[in-house]
């Protein structure tokens, strides 16, 4: 479990860097391709609860340190993404038993659920920035900036899940359900 958690953390770190060099999709109003959320959500489905929290913390902090140009007068604090990512991470972790018992069809649906939850971080960031800057406006560019990565993740997430399932087998990691204590 520890080896697989560390591998996921390493992959999240590398994905966060690689994302910077992937140009946005022009015909989707410059939507970004995000790989790190799919990695995190796979971890949420297969890792035990403490590791999910650890991975969420690492992903959120890495994201903020790499993407937010933090200045003294910044209105988005480093660490906020950890809180924002915790919500979809816990939703995904709630489906871990379904994922671990499920067949490929169920797992594909959960990969698509991961895609649906991908824009959550961007939506949260947009809401916080709008609130802090006291300027809440909305147009189709903003809509695509938020939803576009989710649309792209519909294709990417199943592929990421497939690769991670293979790596999990390679490391002989067998995910187990969090069982309630026997009374």
């Amino acid at each position: 479990m520890i080896r697989f958690s560390l591998l996921l953390a390493l992959l999240v770190f590398l994905a966060s860097i690689v994302q910077r060099y992937i140009p946005p999709i022009i015909w989707l109003k410059e939507s970004a391709i995000l790989l790190a959320p799919a990695l995190l959500f796979y971890g949420c489905l297969t890792l035990p609860f403490p590791a999910v929290l650890g991975l969420t913390f690492f992903t959120g902090l890495t994201n903020d340190l790499l993407t937010v140009p933090f200045a003294q007068e910044s209105n988005y604090s480093i660490g906020t993404s950890i809180v924002l990512l915790l919500i979809p991470a816990l939703i995904m972790h709630g489906f871990s038993s379904t994922f671990l018992r499920g067949r490929w069809g169920t797992n594909l649906l959960l990969a698509e659920l991961a895609a649906v939850l991908t824009p959550f971080l961007l939506l949260g960031q947009y809401a916080i920035i709008s609130f802090e800057r006291r300027a809440f406006f909305y147009n189709d560019v903003i809509m695509w900036r938020i939803l576009g990565p989710g649309v792209i993740a519909i294709v990417i997430s199943p592929c990421v899940f497939l690769v991670l399932a293979y790596l999990s087998d390679l490391l002989r990691y067998e995910p187990q359900l969090d069982r309630p204590r026997q009374g």
């Binding site: 860097i17 410059e30 993407t67 937010v68 140009p69 960031q125 947009y126 147009n139």
Partner: protein, 267 residues
Amino acid sequence: MRGTSIAALITFVVLVVFVLILPSGCKQQWQAAFLNTVSPIFHATSALTQGIGGVSGGFKKLDELEKENRELRTENAELRTSNSLLKNLQSEVNRLNRALGYRERSPFNLLPAHVISRENAAWWNSCTIDRGSADGVAIDMAVVTEAGLVGKIVNVSKNAAIVLLVSDEGLKVSVSIEGTQEQGIISGTRASSNYVPDLRIGFISKTADVKPGMKVFTSGTGGVFPSGVLVGTVKGFAIKELEGVATVEPAVDLTRVEDVFVITGTR
């Protein structure tokens, strides 16, 4: 919930609260330290990207050579190819001459730097350059090219620095409009396209005679940006309820800029 889960949850909450309540300066230092750690990766990736460009350029040349071999039967085609190559070389020489000339003419001390990573985030426009505190770069220094203003330094590590671009909504620059007495604050817009970003000048008088094509320069108010640096060209002017608002096209192509100068002082 098991004991380990409860302990993990408590640790998680404590850590998150700790990170969130850290003072700004401390967070800035964290980011600088992190940048210091990842900057070798940025340097390597940037070199690799250029290398890939070079390799693909090599393939292109081979391709062209093969094509040229076929076309060598006609002298006309050979001349066309040579001419095109010369034009490319000339434009490269011109570009370097412009940069060199600008550096020599400029009244500022300019430190040349190269963009090693471009931020792809939805709500922030920034890039990372290959110069840091070891080269004398410090927070709040202005970054320019021979074409105009690029942004300002917001965080510095030993060998790299983060530049907040002028197209970012969070960067406010005091500017004046050429041919008028008008001054205002220019900033990027959140919903603008990264590829054709629009800047916006607020707080202009409603009666101002601002027309498309007028140049916008930094006014020097505030002390961060020196006065007289070109920011962009006015695209349009609209009168709102309380103020006039001008949209401005940036002077620098912020999506393609590769070589920049950090203003480290005046001569």
